[in-house]
């Protein structure tokens, strides 16, 4: 988006001259690019637009003459509450009245780069040429420079608060300083003696509203370093404030991409055929053109779109055109996926992590092994992929939910031949996503259709299309092998994990616009550290190793709420439970004995079992445990579950979470509850078989997603903590399947080693 430059930063002289190189080094030293707000090069001025009577303070804040405070949120709201959390942090530091806070989506700008994510997950979020596989020591400034230049504003990996708490707080401190400086100027006082509270600058008995000083304050030069507010007696940070987006979400007024209405707008439906290298071969034009209400068709090399005055008429027309597709190469199928995973697991693969000397430790010892298998996991958000597009003299405007707006804009530009500056993106709230909005196909398709038919169009995928063309979380298989010491404890452990090289293909799709089937083929066989993330990551085992065995499964795969941790935690936590049972130990004490280096996780486990009434894990109790750490957070879960005549009954989930400091405990609780239910869905369903390149499931009801009646009693407790916030979006997901599997093993003596949970043999 080409934003309109505001007056902030137009005064070039006040920015110190810094070379690009010293800027980057300086930024790294400051611990985050956005923190170094006082040394932004000219090209990175905020590109916010200000309404009349509104004043831009920096990239994160505008304040109006009426006293409203517009907090700029550079992340996609997909239910995680980020449009409340980041404003809450800023309001707290500003000393604002919460009732004056408004929220705006950020425009595309390098200022909002998610450098934390790029640092943490460079394997996934960097082009391959810059990060050789396995090379963890690539200098961070190279990564950051690349990420900043490409405005990598990703929403992913539970990173919103972890990344943006610092920049939001610094931005608020800067704005607060300016407000105090302007008030002090009027009072002829020292600004450092002033304070702020409830939307006022105060000095003794003197008070001025932010509203009254905003215009003057925005013109002043900020202090060179942020000056932070002393902790308030009644801070907004940590309060269970009501989410700002809730009123609009209870009366139907919250707008998603499919709720945009434009003059002369029409509605499009699409069919894309089987997965793989698929081309549109033919359509029954004679039958199709007779479809009632049909206005236009758009034939693309890879898909057919129909356009009508309402979406249903457009979608019905697709059937009459009966498009025929042609796919090169062997079709994707469940059999092929399984065969590829099994074959990959036979090889040693690539060693991703290790400690000690697992080979020597295991030599000539009795090894105990178990195999596990996990099916692909669909996102299945309730909102199907939807985008609205309108063209106007060589420009295209697109309304879509995206977790990577700059890459979405670039993908549209690439596909339409327009310059990125001729593409304007309006970031919308997502109706779920769960990382599905890292794929931009629908935005690109909507733009192509709008350009071709020359009128505004809204494209929504049907549910069948959504299931068939979803890029799921990878399936995986594992062989876990251990040797036990005399007391039954694990002294050496190898996790061999067969999975596709998801993150290489994801990266090629996201940054290079590579078609999914091409990206899948090109990535096949390459080692991918992110594909085995979370395996054996918490336990203190003297000798261990984690191998990735890359599998060429033919099915494109992508990111998903919980990512690889959602299967690696299943492998680890089930296997640990099996070893505990084998050695006749209590699954709790067996784990705690290995958590010497993870005291926070041990504490979660002890609290969860105490809350849930752990009965020692003996046969017949129907109780199961699992614990996991990811994204700076820790969770322990105790599940009570047993099979019944009506299927699996998960009766209770007791979770204890240490996620550090909580910005808003109510939103944190929502995230953990939601993560647990998302994990439960993946434990029991949320998948499909494939045959002939097509998903077997076509309807939402075929995915086995839990409903209210299958929702267990859920208890969530947080550990009080002052440490920096950990991620909350995903932490609930990975523990559910292993805890439930372990509960079933306790209840029945039968060990299930397959996800979704099924006694079908491996």
């Amino acid at each position: 988006m080409t934003g309109i430059r505001d007056k902030v930063g137009q005064n070039r002289s006040r920015l110190p001259h810094v070379s690009r190189r010293s800027f980057l080094v300086g930024a790294t030293a400051a611990g985050g690019l956005a923190l170094a707000w006082s040394v932004w090069p000219r090209s990175y001025d905020p590109n916010l637009t200000a309404a009349e009577g509104e004043h831009v303070f920096n990239a994160f804040l505008k304040i109006g003459d009426d006293g409203h405070i517009a907090a700029i949120v550079p992340q996609c709201e997909m239910g995680q509450g980020v449009t409340t959390l980041l404003p809450q942090i800023m309001a707290d530091e500003l000393g604002a009245d919460w009732r004056t806070i408004a929220v705006e989506s950020a425009p595309i700008s390098p200022l909002y780069t998610n450098t934390l994510l790029v640092d943490e997950d460079s394997g996934a979020f960097m082009p391959r040429s810059l990060v050789p596989d396995f090379v963890a020591d690539v200098r961070s400034w190279v990564r950051r420079e690349w990420a900043v230049r490409h405005a990598v504003m990703l929403t992913a990996n539970s990173s919103s608060v972890r990344m943006f708490e610092g920049p939001c707080r610094a931005a608020a401190a800067q704005a607060r300083a300016l407000l105090m400086m302007e008030a002090a100027r009027r009072w002829d006082a020292d600004w450092q003696q002033c304070d702020t509270q409830d939307g006022f600058v105060i000095l003794g008995k003197k008070k001025l509203r932010f509203a009254e000083v905003a215009a003057g304050a925005a013109k002043l030069d900020p202090p060179p370093e942020p000056v932070y507010r002393a902790p308030a007696a009644d801070p907004l940070y940590g309060k269970e404030l009501t989410r700002l987006d809730l009123p609009a979400k209870v009366d139907g007024s919250a707008n998603y991409a499919g709720d945009i209405r434009l003059p002369d707008m029409v509605f499009a439906a699409i069919r894309q055929g089987p997965l793989g290298a698929t081309r549109l071969k033919s359509i029954d034009r004679r039958a199709g053109m007779k479809s009632p209400g049909l206005l236009h068709i758009v034939e693309h090399e890879r898909w057919l779109a129909t356009v009508a005055r309402n979406w249903w008429a457009a979608n019905r027309a697709l059937d009459r055109f009966a498009p025929v597709f042609e796919t090169d190469g062997p079709p994707v199928s469940t059999t092929r996926i399984d065969t590829a995973l099994k074959a990959a697991l036979k090889a040693d693969g690539y060693r991703i992590r290790q400690k000690g000397d697992v080979g020597a430790a295991m030599e000539a010892r009795k090894k105990i092994s178990a195999h596990y298998a996990v099916a692909p996991a669909l996102h299945a958000p309730i909102e199907t992929r939807t985008a609205t597009a309108a063209t106007d003299r060589g420009h295209v405007r697109v309304w879509v939910a995206t977790q990577a707006p700059a890459q979405c804009r670039d993908a549209i530009a690439r596909a339409t031949g327009l310059a990125p500056s001729d593409v304007t993106l309006f970031p919308m709230m997502a109706g779920g996503s769960f990382d599905a909005c890292l794929d931009h196909s629908v935005a690109v398709q909507a733009a192509i259709i709008a350009l071709q038919i020359k009128r505004p169009v809204q494209l929504a995928w049907s549910r069948a299309e959504e299931i068939m063309r979803d890029i799921p979380r990878a399936p995986a298989r594992a062989k876990m092998t251990a040797t036990l010491d005399a007391a039954g404890g694990i002294d050496a452990l190898i996790a061999r994990i067969a999975a596709p090289s998801t993150n290489h293909e994801f990266r090629a799709r996201l940054f290079d616009g590579t078609p999914a089937d091409v990206a899948q083929r090109e990535a096949a066989g390459t080692p991918d550290a992110v594909a085995v993330e979370g395996a054996l990551s918490t336990y203190d085992i003297r000798h261990f190793a984690v191998n990735h065995c890359p599998a060429d499964i033919g099915l494109p795969t992508g990111r998903w709420r919980g990512n690889a941790d959602s299967y690696t935690a299943f492998f680890t936590e089930c296997f640990i439970d099996e070893m505990a049972a084998r050695s006749g130990s209590d699954a709790l004490s067996y784990r705690v004995a290995m958590l010497g280096e993870s005291p926070q996780l041990a504490r979660c486990l002890l609290t969860a079992t105490s809350l849930g009434g752990w009965e020692g894990g003996v046969a017949g109790t129907a109780q199961g445990l699992a614990c996991h750490s990811m994204r700076g957070s820790h969770i322990a879960l105790m599940a009570t579950a047993r099979p019944s005549e009506r299927g699996l009954q998960v009766q209770q989930l007791v979770a204890v979470v240490d996620a550090g400091r909580l910005v808003n405990p109510a939103v944190a609780r929502q995230q953990v509850e939601g993560g647990l239910i998302f994990g439960l869905a993946a434990a029991t369903g949320a998948t499909t078989d494939y045959g002939g390149g097509i998903a077997a499931a076509r309807k939402l009801g075929q995915l086995g997603l839990p409903r209210l009646s299958q929702s267990p009693e859920i208890i969530v407790e947080f550990v009080d903590s002052d440490r920096d916030p950990g991620g909350l979006g995903e932490i609930g997901v990975p523990v559910v399947a292993p805890a439930v599997a372990n509960a079933i093993a306790a209840a029945t003596g039968r060990r299930i080693r397959r996800l979704p949970l099924s006694t079908r043999p491996l």
């Binding site: 006293g67 009245d97 009732r99 009501t242 209870v250 509850e673």
Partner: protein
């Protein structure tokens, strides 16, 4: 014939009579609060009230609606004052919010008939799918809305839409009207 009442207004849709009500509401009437999630009656995101019953609008044609009274989320109340809407905010139910119009319409229809439903009755009435996992709160919020409907409790959690700037400035000291105090 496709003449019926939508949110207390008489409407005639000049569309194929086989058009599902959902698409008439969304694409002809621009009542976009009612959502498409599956088209097969599985998710309930398109739930509306037809003559007092919670019905998936993707499964009923506009021909079948002839002469009936349809109420959508936009007209459940004019000001978010319905006890279900208030309870939904008070219990912080929504996350992404996409399924919530349907959830709220289903809950409102349930409570209109029975303001004190049992767990089993809630389970039977609330078959909508939510992927964010709002289920535990939905049960709590329905109980709370029931208490409000029975006169045992009052909630003022969700503000009405369209508060005038002058009224806001009177209530919030940090605000002022554009023309000063």
């Amino acid at each position: 014939m496709t003449r019926f009442s939508v949110n207390d207004r008489p409407v005639e849709y000049r569309m194929d009579p086989e058009t599902p009500l959902l698409w008439a509401l969304r694409d002809a009437s621009n009542l976009t609060g009612t959502k498409y999630g599956c088209g097969t009656g599985d998710c309930g995101a398109c739930t509306v009230d037809i003559d007092g019953e919670a019905i998936c609008s993707c499964l009923v044609t506009i021909a079948e609606c002839e002469g009936r009274f349809v109420t959508t989320i936009e007209a459940l109340s004019r000001d978010r004052s319905h006890p279900v809407q208030q309870a939904w905010v008070a219990e912080q139910v929504p996350q992404c919010g996409f399924c919530q119009s349907g959830m709220i319409m289903a809950a409102a229809a349930l409570l209109r008939k029975n303001s004190n439903p049992s767990d089993a009755e809630i389970d039977a009435a609330m078959t909508n799918i939510c992927r964010c996992g709002t289920y535990p709160r939905i049960r709590t919020a329905i109980r709370r809305a029931g208490r409000v409907m029975r006169g045992e409790e009052r909630i003022a959690a969700a503000p009405p839409p369209g508060i005038r700037p002058a009224d806001a400035a009177r209530a919030v000291p940090a605000l002022r009207t554009p023309h000063g105090d």
